[in-house]
């Protein structure tokens, strides 16, 4: 008969245990039953906060229920185990199921520790542990404005970030100790972290002991032991974790004084047939509150059950925090100090950076350290600590990053031994990753994640995996930098900065000084766009015409039969009857097909190249200008009618849309830009699907950024709430300048944000808090661009030299392209079908 394994708890570690059994190909030799208390299969708790950033339950789920079924695992959800009969070797569930076991694995994790403060049961008080907790918080946050978190540790700060994400205006962190993250970082590091967090909008209160939670059924305020009081309408308690050892305790297993199921090095409890793994286990006198040691425990028990030998050794507790645009990390022995070690400290309080490394007294090894504000070197330092790498002569270089261009010498990823553990969650070594890169030609991060699982746990090693991919490929002689094309050895951002510093205004200048060869269809439009973004000069002058994309070169969009479409700007979608008539007359005269576009304007299709200047002339004379439908630039600012006519409107959406459209018209950017303004929260203008969208509120405007329709639709994210028109424009100015300066060519704002480290919160800190200190420069640059704006059509109409270029045949300017064929359609025409 098959032996039976019962797993109690289907959290991250319980799941991993199942996965390990299957990987060892022994699942079929055992009957496996898993009991889970939650209603859904295990999900990624580590990235729980991303639920607020738009990740769905499916995204977070470790494996769907079908996976368990396929692997013959009997998964029973919503039914916790309440009793263990160790004599009979059976467990009993809440619903009364009784199952026998040969091995019992407790993976019950932990719950939030809630201190016995009077009033914790009130509405509006939450813990932060499960998806249900987050759903409840999300609901409550809709009507809350002032939030607080009790606990300034790793999870507390993450919860505080979540409250900011939920749109609360004020977020307070209440910490009982005299500093933040007391378990991970030292006094000085905490100070720097605190200052940094304050600039990001968190209010930090230290040495505060909460005495009571005040309110009539629902939280209204917090009362502190020092007599002070704080009005809040939402509270998250994150004061620590409490191992779920209640069932084990009743069954008579040994538990620790402060909780946790006591286990030996083989992770056996006081009953050798019962194991405990993950956050419920008390191993080496401690609870390992991180996922990596939990996964290692799963491995140890899986090995043990198949008869192998493996012990759980004291595990490295280094952590890198995924916080609000502030890096925080601690590794190895972070606190060891003289006389047991030498410490080197670097602090730049202006920039909010603190770094400390601890070195053995003989100067040979790195023992541990703390990083605040800049944790770029975290992975390297951690590796050096773990692998006992002999330090270079100037160990501070490790902490400060390489200066003077050297590649960091012996401390680079390539210098690590093959057995160096890169991903500790999944126990993947450097050798394992390099093998995939070299032998199996897996050269993308996603590919490596798939085949090795590295980077799929806490994600902390992802930057290092990327480095490994890049460095390994380089050592294989493959060129990997994200350079523009074969003619330019620079990324778009580098090129942007160089062109700006040098003041180049023509493509040939840029190519002569910064590139090689003759250019191509990739770098030409990219450089043309940079030049246009920087100087906003007429794009067809100074020999730049032929480096523009064909649409830009002809200031119109090429269509299926080689003719063009013409889109005049209709700001905010507002148009007078007189202008409508002119459009109709022009369309009739040149036999154009007319259609209302999705951006609330009118597109005229089927114009011959040689007719373009005449069509523009008629439109310009009637007061129209170019709509830049052909350019990588601002398209339209859609609007709803707003408070001028609509009975729900709270602001004049059309007037503001016109102002916004006229401000940014003609602005060249890495990709097209779309915008919209809605007059109230009903959102008739669909502003949340735009690169920047504005929605009226009673008090002003809410600004959303980085949405789009198209192939991969994306909801925009909230950047600022209740701002006045001037502030709104200023934020858009800065947002756009930042995007234009840093995005790769042809990258829209949404994927640009996806790639941004720190995401929307970092973007907020740049745009709103001006952490880069670029605000004023960008304001000034944008104003210059706005002033430099001219209608491109008008310039062609008025310039005979430019006008001459708009012919199909240079030697027969009057003759139209005989190949441009049309077919009738309803009362108009369409382009002939292509072959």
């Amino acid at each position: 008969m098959k032996k039976k394994i019962v797993v109690v708890g289907n959290g991250m570690v319980g799941y991993k245990f199942c996965e390990k059994l299957i990987a060892k190909d022994i699942a079929k030799k055992f009957e496996i039953i898993v009991f889970g208390e939650e209603i859904r299969p295990a999900y990624d708790r580590v990235h729980l906060s991303e639920y607020f950033a738009g990740k769905t339950v499916e995204d977070l789920t470790m494996a769907p229920t079908s996976w368990y079924a396929e692997n013959d695992i009997n998964l029973i959800l919503s039914d916790p185990i309440v009793d263990i009969d160790r004599e009979a070797k059976t467990v009993r569930s809440h619903h009364g199921l009784v199952k026998g076991y040969d091995y019992l694995v407790m993976a019950t994790g932990s719950g939030a520790f809630v201190p016995p403060i009077p009033g914790v049961e009130k509405d509006g008080v939450f813990v932060y542990r499960t998806i249900e907790d987050l759903d409840l918080m999300q609901n409550h946050a809709k009507k809350a404005t002032k939030g607080a978190v009790i606990g300034g540790g790793l999870l507390g700060l993450e919860a505080a970030k979540a409250l900011l994400d939920l749109g609360l205006k004020e977020v307070h962190v209440i910490e009982f100790a005299s500093r933040l993250m007391p378990r991970q970082i030292d006094e000085a590091g905490s100070r720097v972290l605190q200052a940094k967090l304050e600039t990001l909008g968190l209010q930090i209160h230290l040495n505060k002991n909460t005495q009571e939670i005040v309110g009539d059924g629902i939280i209204e305020a917090m009362q502190f032991a020092d007599g002070s009081r704080l009005d809040v309408d939402m509270l998250v308690i994150s004061a620590g974790i409490k191992p779920r050892d209640e069932v084990a305790k009743v069954a008579g297993l040994e538990v620790g004084i402060r909780g946790g199921i006591v286990v030996n090095n083989a992770l056996q409890t006081s009953d050798p047939n019962i194991f405990a793994i993950g956050e419920c286990a008390l191993a080496h006198h401690m609870i390992y509150g991180l996922v990596a040691p939990g996964y290692e425990m799963a491995e140890v028990v899986a090995t043990k059950i198949i008869g192998g030998e493996k012990e759980f050794m004291p595990f490295d507790m280094s952590t890198k925090l995924k916080l609000i645009g502030v890096d925080v990390a601690s590794f190895g022995d972070a606190f060891i100090q003289e006389p047991n070690a030498q410490t080197i400290v670097f602090e730049n309080s202006a920039k909010g950076i603190y770094k400390r490394i601890n070195i053995s007294n003989d100067g040979k090894y790195l023992l541990g350290g703390v990083l605040v504000g800049d944790a770029e070197q975290y992975n390297m330092l951690l590796q050096n600590t773990k692998n006992k790498t002999i330090l270079p002569a100037d160990p501070e270089d490790l902490m400060l990053g390489a200066r003077g261009g050297s590649e960091g010498g012996a401390s680079g990823v390539m210098a690590l031994p093959d057995e160096a553990l890169i991903c500790s969650c999944e126990a993947v070594t450097k050798g394992g990753i390099c093998h995939e890169i070299i032998e199996n030609k897996v050269t993308t991060l996603d590919g490596i994640k798939k085949c090795t699982k590295a980077g799929t746990g806490c994600g902390g090693c992802v930057p290092m995996v990327k480095d490994l991919i890049n460095e390994t490929m380089k050592s294989q002689g493959v060129f990997v930098r994200n350079i523009l094309c074969e003619h330019f050895d620079y990324t778009r951002q580098e090129l942007f900065d160089l062109v700006k510093i040098k003041g180049y205004k023509t493509y040939n200048d840029v190519l002569d000084h910064l590139g090689k060869g003759d250019g191509c269809e990739v770098c030409k439009p990219a450089v043309a766009s940079i030049i246009a973004s920087l100087w906003n000069e007429m794009i067809l002058e100074k020999g730049n015409a032929t480096v523009q994309d064909s649409n830009d070169r002809f200031l119109a969009n090429i269509q299926k039969n080689g003719t063009y479409s013409v889109v005049p700007r209709i700001p905010g979608g507002e148009i007078t009857p007189e202008k409508l008539i002119v459009i109709g007359q022009v369309a009739l005269k040149y036999n154009l097909y007319t259609k209302i576009t999705g951006g609330q304007r009118i597109d005229l299709f089927g114009a011959h190249v040689s007719d373009l200047p005449e069509i523009w002339e008629e439109l310009v004379n009637a007061g129209f200008e170019s709509g830049h439908a052909y350019g990588k630039s601002l398209r339209t600012v859609k609007s709803c009618v707003g408070s001028t006519w609509c009975r729900f409107g709270v602001q004049d959406a059309v007037s503001f849309a016109i102002e916004v459209e006229e401000r940014y018209r003609g602005l060249r950017s890495p990709h097209k830009l779309k915008s919209a303004v809605s007059g109230c929260t009903r959102e008739c203008a669909e502003a949340q699907s735009k690169d920047f969208g504005i929605i009226a509120t009673e008090k002003g405007w809410n600004l959303y950024v980085c949405g789009n329709g198209g192939v991969k639709p994306r909801h925009a994210e909230l950047l600022a709430t209740d701002i006045d028109s001037a502030t709104c424009l200023q934020y858009i100015d800065r947002f756009l300048m930042f995007y234009i300066k840093t995005a790769e060519p042809l990258t829209r704002t949404a994927p640009w944000l996806d790639k941004m480290e720190g995401g929307i919160n970092y973007l907020k800190s740049v745009v709103i808090d001006d952490v880069l200190g670029m605000g004023e420069t960008w304001d000034a640059e944008m104003n210059l661009l706005v002033e430099a704006y001219k209608c491109e059509w008008k310039e062609v109409v008025e310039n005979p030299e430019l006008r001459k270029r708009f012919t199909h045949f240079v030697n027969a300017p009057k003759v139209k392209d005989p190949n441009a064929k049309f077919e009738p359609m309803r009362e108009m025409v369409k382009a002939a079908e292509w072959k």
Binding site: N508, D518, C520, E521, G543, A545, T807, V810
Partner: protein, 116 residues
Amino acid sequence: MVLEQTITWHLACNTEDIPADGGACALIEGEQVAIYNFARRGEWYATQNLCPHRQQMALSRGMIGSTGAEAEPKVACPFHKKTFSLKSGECLSGDDYVIKTYPIKVENGQIFIGME
């Protein structure tokens, strides 16, 4: 040598009619000929104007440039960015198309296209 004798030279246009580092189309003997002014290298090329991909009269409106160690001159069709060698007419972006190229010469500011 032999080639020189079998082709006729047709006047297409003046040099200033073709923008620097770009192209334009001329109508010669009923054929649409794309003429390219590779000003960076002081070279001139001519090909058919028709892009074989979707039969569009568009190559003269494409961007020109070069590729590879030999700096092979090329043009990219504005429709779907297929690229063609200006020397051999071969498609450089992986399709089997070959476009026609024409002999071209410049005399006294005038451009002549050679046809058989």
